[in-house]
Every structure is written in structure tokens, then in C-alpha cells.
Symmetry: C2
Subunit: 539 residues, 2 copies
């Protein structure tokens, strides 16, 4: 056997391969088997998949080589969105296994969201045998062309021998950049013998912010001019938020997060942070009066869309943008260095009291209050509630400690798959998925995977039977809806019956028409193993 070497130049002849205590004989291993060995050896132990014919040897290898949990989705967008949710909680990449160009295409929208979340992921896309591509069989497509826009790394492996090293490089690329690596696997590279597993490749630590930058930002903050820190990524984990609150306490800088984020650690006893509002006028108002905007792992805030006669950039005229840390840099380290430079002492989190469930009409604020009362300890909230849920985040500030996951790329249909993957990554924690009814239908097949894997996901469908966001946006762009437009916004003819849809995919469900019914069903869902769906009727 050729001894694979890792990037440190060390021979790894005694590479430990899961499920096989002896050194591998190259001639007895297919490319597919070397792929499984390499993934497992590189720390990838979960694969979200919707496989097809060209992936059959990889599937067969999964039988022979233990160490990877396979989670089946009945549509590829479930698999890619779940890999995103998994990575947000597990802080490491899952693999996806998808079938040829169309299989990748079906997963692209949630890969777009994952790219915007800066999560690591390794796509394995099966393709025709290398010698078969030239014949342009029906499934032949430009896989690399479709993959590149969402990938930090894209490669078509050449043969069985290269599968191992290419897979190890894919994992490395995904982990080094918190991005998506796409490995295209021709079926002959998969089925041929000659596979050679590669060892885990090293990961570079994130770059640190230069001391000069720390000092410069500290000077800005000490100036007393109105300033805000805009944090995202690891900047929204508890330690970073605690540091940010220390900085705010000594400088009076405001703390803000972008409207949409990968994961926010929050709740009672943690350090709260406000989100930049979604409506453009509110966002501009939220930044009004600022002289300095300090980016901590975030981009400069821009309009989610452009609107006639409204600005693209939200910062006030004359304000100055400073970069404390780029998304790929050491955000927590930069915050710690800044706090040290400012000699900012620790501060306790603000006091918070446990909210009580709301009563009365089913309004957005009342639903938020009930959620705040009933979110269980260490819950994972996946928020794709769109229009009706704009107030959910502020309204749940004082809930029990929980993680809040958002749709980062604006590609609707991320919520249910995110919830699925988060539940796979974090067994024992309740996942609560807040879904607009329009959004929920895009990737509704995720419910089946939740039932199959008995995942502890409570899905709340906010059933207003319309694309309410489009009504809002039509007004934002200054147009008045007529009959045709209204017909495209309303989903009430026929109305979607979420109880039956869920049951059709094996998920028990019930309808709530009052806040009290909603609270009862929510609490009941926590007491059961596996998924449950609540259709909350919005009047």
C-alpha cells in the first residue's frame, strides 16, 4: 500500500481506519470504500442523502465500512438544508450525497443559505463514469458549473486512486473556510479498485486581528462619538457576547446583529443583542445618529432588497465603517483583545424574569410571549416565520436559554431542513421550528425525515394562508395589488390542511385556534419522543 502522507509530511502508514484494525491493502479497496474511510478519518460521521444509481457503490461501501450515520431525505433540499442545520450545532461538517446535476440542483437553494451562514459542509455528487460523460446521456449536466457559485472548493476526482486525497482535501477546505466543498465522484472512480484512504489534513487556525487594528478601534470607541458594534458568526456565542457587553459598558457603544444570523446564544442569564430590523425604514432608523459602525465578523448592513427612492446602504451619511474582524477571522479573539485594550471589566448579564403565557387574540406579540414562557432549557429555535414572526425575536428575549437559528440567505424553504439537521446534531434538545405556511411547503418533505429518525422537532406552522411578505413588499415598492397580484399572494383556494399534510408524512399534528390551545399543544409536544406539528391558525 502506498503510504498516504498528511500535510505535515508525516507518513501515516499506521493510519487508524475505523472498522478495520489492519492496514488497508490498496488493491482490495474501491474508490468508494476509500471515500468512506477518509470521511470517517477526517471527522465526518453524518451524511444527509438522496442517492441515485451513480451513487450505488458509495452506498454499498457505507454498508461495509462503519462510522457514518446516513439520514435519508426524500428531496435533495432536505439533505442540504439539514447539513446546514447540523453544522450550525455540531460546529463541524456533515457530508451530503446527491445524485448527478439535477440532484445538486434540487439542493442549491439551501446550499445558498448555508454559504451565507458560513458553515462547513462536504457535498459528494455522484456523476456518470468518466468515459460515459462524452456520450451526453440524459442526466449529463454541468455539475461543476452549478456547484461553483455556492462552493469554496469544487473538484471532480479523476479515478479511484485520487478519491481519498480529494475527499480529505474537501473536508480540509470546508473546515478551513467554514464553507462548502463539493467533490464530484464519477461512478467508475467509485467502483474501481485502487482506492487509498487519506489521513485527516490539518486545519489552520483563524487569522487574528492585528494589534494596530485593535488599538485603532479602541481609539474610536474611546472618542465618545456614537458607535455600534455589529456582531455575527461566533460573535453571537455566549463568550463573545459577554465580551461585547463589557466593551459596551465602558464605551457606551451599541451592540447590534444583522437581521439574519447563523446562530445566536440567548435567553435568561445570557447577554442579549438586538437585530437590525428587516423593514428598510426601521433599519435606517436603527442606525440613525451613528458616527462609527464597527464590523465584528459581519458585512456592512445593506438592504435585503433595493426599493425605489430608498438607500442600498443603511448607515447614516458621513458615518465611518471599521472592520474589527472579517467573517473568516478570529472574532472571539478580536473581541477579547479589544476588551483588554479598553480594560473593560466583566459585567453581569441583565436581569430577566420568566414570562407568562399570553391570553387573548392570536397576535404576533402574544404568540411571542407564549413562546417566551414555554421555550424549554437549551431549546433550538429555527425561525422561518417571515412576516408574522417579525416580533418573535425581541419578544422571546427572556425565555429560558436557547439557540436561535435564522434563514441566512433568503432562500425560502430552509426552516424545516435546518430543524431536521439541528435535531440530528443535538439529540436530547428540543427543536422548535417557527414556519410561515408559505415557506413550509417549499421543502415539506423534511417532515418525513423527522418522523423516520424520530427527531424531537416541534414545528409551528403560522397559518395565515397567504404570502403575507409579498403584500408588504408590494407596498414597499410602491405598487398597489390588483386581482392578478392578489391571486398570487393568497394560498386559501384551496387552503393547505397542515394536519393532513403532516399525517401523510408520518408526523402527528394538531390545530390550535387560541393561545391556550397553542400553549397546551406546545407543552405536550415536549413530553413526547419524536416530531409534532402545530398548525396555529392566524386570524
Amino acid at each position: 500500500m502506498r503510504e498516504p502522507t498528511n500535510h505535515n509530511g508525516k507518513a501515516t502508514a499506521q493510519l487508524e481506519l475505523p472498522g478495520n484494525s489492519t492496514t488497508m491493502k490498496e488493491s482490495f479497496m474501491s474508490g468508494a470504500e476509500s471515500l468512506v474511510h477518509t470521511l470517517v478519518g477526517s471527522g465526518v460521521d453524518t451524511c444527509f442523502t438522496n442517492p441515485g444509481t451513480s451513487e450505488m457503490h458509495f452506498v454499498a461501501a457505507l454498508d461495509r465500512v462503519p462510522g457514518i450515520r446516513c439520514v435519508l431525505g426524500l428531496f435533495e433540499g432536505v439533505a442540504t438544508g439539514a447539513a446546514d442545520g447540523y453544522a450550525r450545532l455540531a460546529r463541524k461538517p456533515a457530508a451530503t450525497l446527491l445524485h448527478c446535476g439535477p440532484g445538486l440542483a434540487n439542493g442549491l437553494a439551501n446550499l445558498h443559505n448555508a454559504k451565507r451562514a458560513h458553515v462547513p459542509m462536504v457535498n459528494v455528487i455522484g456523476d456518470h463514469a468518466t468515459y460515459h460523460r462524452v456520450f451526453d446521456a440524459p442526466l449529463t449536466a454541468d455539475i461543476e458549473g452549478w456547484a461553483r457559485p455556492i462552493s469554496v472548493w469544487t473538484r471532480t476526482t479523476r479515478c479511484a486512486k485520487t478519491v481519498g486525497i480529494d475527499a480529505a482535501t474537501a473536508v480540509q477546505a470546508a473546515r478551513n473556510t467554514c464553507g462548502i466543498a463539493t467533490l464530484i465522484l464519477p461512478s467508475d472512480a467509485s467502483w474501481n479498485q485502487g482506492g487509498s484512504p487519506a489521513g485527516r489534513l490539518p486545519i489552520a487556525p483563524p487569522l487574528s486581528t492585528a494589534p494596530d487594528t485593535i488599538a485603532a478601534v479602541a481609539r474610536v470607541l474611546r472618542s465618545g462619538e456614537p458607535a455600534a458594534l455589529m456582531l455575527t458568526g461566533t460573535g453571537l456565542e455566549t463568550d463573545s457576547l459577554a465580551t461585547a457587553h463589557r466593551i459596551a459598558a465602558v464605551t457606551h457603544a451599541r451592540l447590534l446583529a444583522p437581521t439574519f444570523n447563523r446562530l445566536i446564544e440567548r435567553g435568561r442569564g445570557r447577554y442579549p443583542i438586538a437585530l437590525l430590523p428587516y423593514p428598510i425604514d426601521h433599519a435606517v432608523a436603527a442606525l440613525a445618529g451613528l458616527r462609527h459602525l464597527i464590523l465584528v465578523g459581519s458585512q456592512e448592513p445593506v438592504g435585503f432588497f433595493a426599493y425605489p427612492d430608498k438607500p442600498s446602504l443603511m448607515k447614516p451619511n458621513g458615518s465611518i465603517v471599521h472592520v474589527l474582524a472579517r467573517p473568516e477571522e478570529d472574532v472571539a479573539g478580536a473581541l477579547a483583545a479589544l476588551a483588554a485594550e479598553l480594560a473593560a471589566p466583566p459585567v453581569p448579564p441583565p436581569p430577566a424574569s420568566r414570562p407568562e403565557p399570553a391570553h387573548g387574540p392570536v397576535t404576533s406579540a402574544a404568540v411571542a410571549q407564549t413562546l417566551a414562557a414555554l421555550i424549554p432549557e437549551q431549546a433550538i429555535i429555527v425561525d422561518e416565520s417571515i412576516s408574522f414572526g417579525l416580533g418573535f425575536y425581541p419578544g422571546t428575549r427572556d425565555a429560558a436559554p436557547h439557540d436561535w437559528l435564522q434563514l441566512t440567505g433568503g432562500a425560502i424553504g430552509g426552516g424545516m431542513p435546518l430543524a431536521t439537521g439541528a435535531a440530528v446534531a443535538a439529540p436530547g434538545r428540543r427543536v422548535i421550528n417557527l414556519e410561515g405556511d408559505g415557506s413550509a411547503l417549499y421543502t415539506v418533505q423534511a417532515l418525513w425525515t423527522q418522523a423516520r429518525e424520530m427527531l424531537d422537532v416541534t414545528t409551528i406552522i403560522l397559518s395565515n394562508r397567504k404570502y403575507a411578505i409579498l403584500e408588504l413588499e408590494l407596498a414597499n415598492v410602491g405598487a398597489n395589488p390588483g386581482r392578478t397580484a392578489l391571486d398570487l399572494f393568497y394560498l386559501d383556494s384551496p387552503a393547505l390542511d397542515w394536519i393532513r399534510l403532516a399525517a401523510g408524512m408520518g408526523v402527528e399534528a394538531a390545530r390550535a385556534e387560541t393561545l391556550e390551545e397553542f400553549a397546551d399543544l406546545l407543552a405536550a409536544s415536549y413530553r413526547r419522543k419524536g416530531p409534532f406539528l402545530i398548525e396555529l391558525v392566524i386570524p
Copy 2:
């Protein structure tokens, strides 16, 4: 107003604009309005859509300018697959209206199928305002990069003034090539004034086959050496098939179609044609002994996939491939010229007798026989039955005259959208959609559109609760399934309940466990207005 000219150089100042009897004033028309006027003027009167914010001005323009029927899908793959089905029946392009890169991405798989079907289609993809793209807002994506692999023509229009001419060019490109034209519409090009509708641009007739080629193919056929004509596209319409049968009668050439085709006109009183079998060994056997393979609008037959130790090309060694007509050429004309060269007299279609419904166990052959007995006159069959339905096509040869539509690109999830679009294009004709249960779930949202539009679609779910094709393919590639593989093939934990899924989207449904129940439900579905779904339980 600047007078738009058409490609013949004629001024079209008096261009007739639907919904507005006077000549347009340029300064009073938005880019979006000019787009609607241009589409209507170019003969596009149907738009399958799932719009978002960036499309709101186009949606508002649809209110102000009559002439386009908008059909809403709750997932973009429904819209693109429906536009494919529409084009197959209407023989002209529909438009799609999709939201930014992710909206296009969700429609790509069925655009891949449509590309392989050689149908005309015009995609309108909304995007950020031109000046907003540079800010990399969350939905920003490489729309052109994703569109090009499935488009014959891709363009991002620059401003309101260019929208009209670009839209007319898109329709022309789609119609000239029977391909997909993708027009990307920045929102400011849509909302700004200055739109100028363009007149319908001319379409070139398809190229004719050279007389030398006709004569050469005639010599081959007269040689008496074993030969087959492989027909697809317009070659599978009744007139072409009648001509092909004349040629076959005087030359003893065999007639074959590829495994997957856009549309086949067939049934009692029409001219039958066999399909190349899907399983590779059967396909090779079907072509064994041939000396000449004559392509009539088709590609050379190749394996749908490569398999270890099996050929990619299916023709016998030593056989010769001749091209009578390429897909974009005049297939019917080439056949007529060849028949004339061969002095082939008309032949009647073969006799056929009406089949009777089958009884006994629910086998593939028995279901085919019942279908053959009960397919109504002028029905449209959409076949995504995959493994269980491999015998449906041969088994329904003697059914009442009908059209048979297939999944041309191998991207699973085409069937339900195809059925939806076909029903929109052909009101008054019953559409029967044969769906594997695995396939059906990919784009299941199409059922809602069928209910909303009251489309006469009978969906038959062949419920075997597994990806049976993968069992078959795993065997084809020589691998044995273990526990992991089997877990990825079986959809029975939990089982999908198609009655509830359909009801959840507003489509009435019933389950059949015997052939007699199946026949009763099938016949009953024809007597009602609107969609119906039958879950046929495969034992």
C-alpha cells in the same frame, strides 16, 4: 415614442398592444409593463410563477396589462415543469417568473428535463436592482451561471428601455431553437419608466435535410441490410409515424424510439412505435443484428448510466450510424422526402382491438391492461412510473388514441408538474399521471396548483413504498445491498399516506388495493371536474 422595428426592418409604429388600443407613450410605461406587452405580442399568454419581492412590479404590471394567464406554484420546480408540459401540448413557449437565484435553482431540475425535451420556454428571473448587486445582499447569487447550463440564450437586461427588445429576442430564441431562453430582470429595469414594447420577431423555419442525404439513406435502406430508424421529437407525431411506417413497409427497416421522449401520439388507429428498453442488456439485445442505425431527430442511443463491464454505446459492433435529421431540423419533412425517394405507398395503421380491464393480482402487466382499457379518447398520459411501470408503454398500445409524455432528462420530480402544465395547455382533455411514490414526493406541491386551477388530472400513485429502481440499479452495478443500503431504499418507515397528502393540498383521493377498485376509481375520476388522486397499493 421611438418606433420599434422588427427584424424585417419594418416600422411597427402601429404595433397593436393588447389592452390598449392607442399607441403607447414610452414615457408612461415601466419596464415591467413593456415586458408584459412584449410577451403578449410575441404570443406568450401563460406564465407559471412563484414570485418574490423583486418581481412585484412585474406582478403589478400583469394587473394593468391583460393577456397573460398566471398560474401559481408553491415551489419553483412546479412552475418550470409545468411550463415544460405546457409547451409539449401547446407547441409554443410559456413564460416562467421566478425569484432571484434561489428561485431559479429550485426550478433547475425540471429545466434540465425541459432542455432534454427540446421544448421552447422563456424564463423571467427577477434580480436585485442593478445598483444594488454590488452590495452582496443575502439573496445575491450567480443567476447567469446557474442559468447557462440549461439555456440556449441567457441575458441580463440593462434598463427599462431594453426590457422590450430583450424579451422579444428571448421568445424568438426559445422558438427558433426549441430551447430555454432566460431573461434576468433587475428590479430597477422593471420599475423604471421608459419601457418600450417590441414587436414579435420572426422565426426561422427548421433546416431541411439535403437531397444528397435523403438519397444516401434511401440507398442504405434499399440495400436490404438490417436497419432501424430511431425517431423522436416531431418524428413521433401521427403524420411522421405514418410516413415512417410507409418507409418500413417497403424497406423492412425497423422503427424504434428512444427510451424517453417528449410526446408520442399513439393508440388505436394510430401508428405504433416501440421504445428502446431501459435495462441496458435489453437495449443492447433490441439493437442486436443491426447493420445501420438511422437517426431521425434523435441522438445515438447510449446507456442511461454506465455499468461496470457493459458498453456505453448500445449499437452492435460494426454497425453504422446515419443522420437523416438532427433534432433541430425538419424531421417530418425529411421523413416525407425519404418516403418519396423510396416511392413508398401509404399503409394503414395496424388493426387493434379494445382491451378489457384486467382481474387478479396487481401486477405491472395487469395495471397496464386496465389502463389500456380505460384510457379515454385524447387523454394525455404523463409517465413517471419508473420501475413498476416499465411495462406500461407496451401494454397500452391498443388504448384509445392518446399522447404519451415522458421524463426526458432523468431528473425525478417531473411528472406532477408536467401533468399540471399539460392540463393548462389542453383543457377538455383528461390528463393521467402515472407516478412512482418515490418520484411523486419531489415536487408534490403541484397537487395544490391542480386543485387551485381545477385541472382535469388523475394522478395514479404506484405505491410500493420504496425506491425500487435503486434496488434494480444496485444489482446492475454488481453490488449487494446491506442494512445501510436497504434503509436508503425503503420508504415504509413511516409509510407515506397519499390520501392525506393529497387532501392536505386540496385534492380528493382514494386508495385502491385491487384492480377492480382501481378501475372503478379511474373511471369515476373522469366524470368529475378537477383533479383526483388514486393511491394504488403495490403488494
